[in-house]
Amino acid sequence: MNPMAANPPITNPPVATPFFFYLLAATMIIGGILVITRKNAIHSAMALITALLAQAGLYLMLYAPFVAGVQIILYAGGIMVLFLFVIMLINLERNMKERQFNKQWLVGIVAAAALGGLFITVYTTSTRGKELFPEGRVAYADGQNTQAIASLLFDRGAGQYMFAFEIASLLLLVAIIGAVVMAKKRI
């Protein structure tokens, strides 16, 4: 009953991990189902935000605080606000009367069965799929996550993703300029 003495100074024992995992996973699944079943687009957006926040919680549980922070700041904070803006400007009354689901039941059932079959196959292997999904995690202390990501991106020796990162940001820049050019008649 004395975690301080039993553990090295940096890493902490995870607290109530299964409880939080199932809580977050259930929140995500319920949120996801609500997103597609609500008729009101604003309600869908709120459900999506809930699901995204729960996902940020899962990232935290995977010892990836930086990804969790970016998830909150970008998806839940930034993109969803823009979503809400757009939804508020469209005509909700007409939207509510529209048919919500298309009639492609066959394709849906086939896809769901394929995915379910895959899960069952993996789970019924002799080791419960553990050779595919190893237990344990990359050995970063949870405190150094940001620094580890930074050195993967920018470090002279280990920085192997710098080019991809810069190209991605260039693409975003092009998209922004494109949006401005298309929206503005006179620049």
Partner: protein, 461 residues
């Protein structure tokens, strides 16, 4: 039972936050303390704002409920709780119900990482400042949904204004913050990483709130003075953006009462309205804490590297911790928390003697004397050496945040409200380019400092 006591005691003497040490008991205690302290601060702020604003406008402000209106916030709270809670018939009920809670949750959650002292924080996260900015940006969602769910014109316009404003100023705010974060690693002789997760292999910056203050301590400079004037400009940008971010005057267009009645919370009343109120004030405290942590040295006292001559008074000074500084200036500044509470108590007693002598005022006079006695008692407790050595950092942090809270009131009493196009112009055409230039200049200054340090270090060897 014994094990439980042992578990509780095991944290005492730790040099880390309860969250960092993984001690659930003390983490809960800290959460309750921060929540309680925040609520008291909001109540005090409510009274102070009305009084100070009134005195700036040569009025008296609240005077009826309690001596000098001291009980006015409590009366207000009771009124709000007893008021009928109306949900408009045409409103979207679920969203209308959820919106205030989103705003309050966003405003309170950020206090998880606010560092009141090197060990006095609920926890220290590796992504501290990112977490604070991210979670506080969630309050936009609450405001937008509140305005939309009211299904009324004024709230919707207020909500759209508010979110446009918050999204715009978040950019400037972020650029200023990044410049401060760069300073944690640039142009310093200190090696290693501060805050959560120590690695001592290379120089690296940090996002951890505690780490940022430790970086300022190690470099011996508050970031507002670093790379002069860059730190100062970044601080100024943040100080402007944070007022806009919290929808306060002169950027209070979302609730411009002359145009929009009350903006996004026009349709709210009673308890739900008070949640918005609570969230607004705790958000103000939260962004002020960010500013204090990033630029004003957090819990560090003024001139942390000046100690004065070493002195010793038996049983009183120096402190029990052998690593603590023992100078005369340290001693004088360590007495500040107690002295400030004693002064508040003395102010109460001065006003007790000035109260009207009419028998009707007897209860109020006695109450004020009791309040003064409690404040003076707290002041005396703060002089006890073990307490004194533990509250110093909390005191300096709170004192700096209090300065910001006064600034908020001062702005409100001084500046006229911006027009919306002026607001957007300031955000996008002035603050954004300044922020980008600042970022580049900070990097250049830092590289220059780093190179010259390495070069001089090479010569020295």
């Amino acid at each position: 039972m014994n094990e439980l006591m042992q578990y509780i005691q095991s944290y005492l003497g730790s040099d880390r936050t309860p969250g960092g040490a993984g001690n659930i008991f003390w983490a809960t205690v800290y959460i309750l303390l921060v929540f309680g302290g925040l609520s008291v601060a909001v109540i005090a702020m409510n009274w102070l704002e009305r009084k100070i604003l009134a005195h700036m406008q040569v009025r008296l402000g609240p005077m009826r409920v309690g001596p000098h209106g001291l009980l006015q916030p409590i009366a207000d709270a009771i009124k709000l709780l007893l008021k009928e809670d109306i949900i408009p018939a045409e409103a979207d009920k679920v969203i209308f119900w959820i919106a205030p809670f989103i705003v309050v949750l966003a405003a309170f959650t950020v206090f998880v990482v606010v560092p009141f002292g090197p060990t006095h924080a609920i926890t220290d996260m590796n992504i501290g400042i990112l977490f604070m900015l991210g979670v506080s940006s969630l309050s936009v969602l609450g405001i937008v949904t509140a305005g939309w769910a009211s299904n009324s014109h004024y709230p919707l316009i207020g909500a759209l204004r508010s979110s446009a404003q918050m999204v715009s100023y978040e950019v400037a705010m972020g650029l200023a913050v990044v410049s401060a974060i760069m300073m944690t690693s640039l142009g310093s002789l200190a090696t290693g990483l501060y805050g959560a997760g120590n690695v001592d292999s290379q120089v690296s910056g940090t996002l951890s709130m505690i780490g940022i203050v430790q970086a300022q301590q190690a470099q011996g400079v508050w970031f507002v003075f670093k790379f002069f004037p860059l730190g100062l400009i970044a601080f100024g940008m943040f100080a402007i953006a944070m007022v806009a971010e919290t929808n306060r005057a002169p950027f209070d267009l979302p609730e411009a009462e002359s145009e929009l009645t009350a903006g996004f919370h026009t349709e709210y009343s009673g308890f739900r309205w008070s949640l918005f109120f609570l969230a607004e004030y705790s958000a103000m405290i939260a962004v002020s804490s960010i500013a204090v942590t990033l630029w004003l040295g957090g819990w560090l006292r003024p001139f942390p590297s000046v100690h004065g001559p070493s002195i010793a008074i038996p049983h009183i000074w120096p402190p029990a911790d052998p690593s603590a500084p023992t100078g005369a200036l340290d001693f004088v500044l360590a007495l500040c928390p107690g002295i400030s509470f004693l002064l508040l108590g003395a102010m109460c007693f001065y006003n007790v003697q000035r109260m009207p002598k009419h028998p009707l005022f007897k209860v109020q006079t006695l109450g004020l004397a009791g309040f003064g006695a409690v404040l003076a008692l707290i002041g005396l407790i703060l002089f006890v050496p073990p307490v004194r050595d533990r509250v110093g950092d909390i005191f300096w942090f709170s004192a700096k945040v209090t300065g910001f809270m006064y600034l908020y009131i001062w702005y409100r009493g001084t500046f006229p409200r911006y027009r919306f196009d002026q607001l957007m112009k300031v955000g996008w055409k002035i603050l954004l380019p300044t922020g980008l230039a600042l970022l580049i200049l900070t990097a250049l200054f830092g590289m220059r400092a780093d190179i010259s340090t390495q070069f001089l270090g090479g010569l020295g060897q």
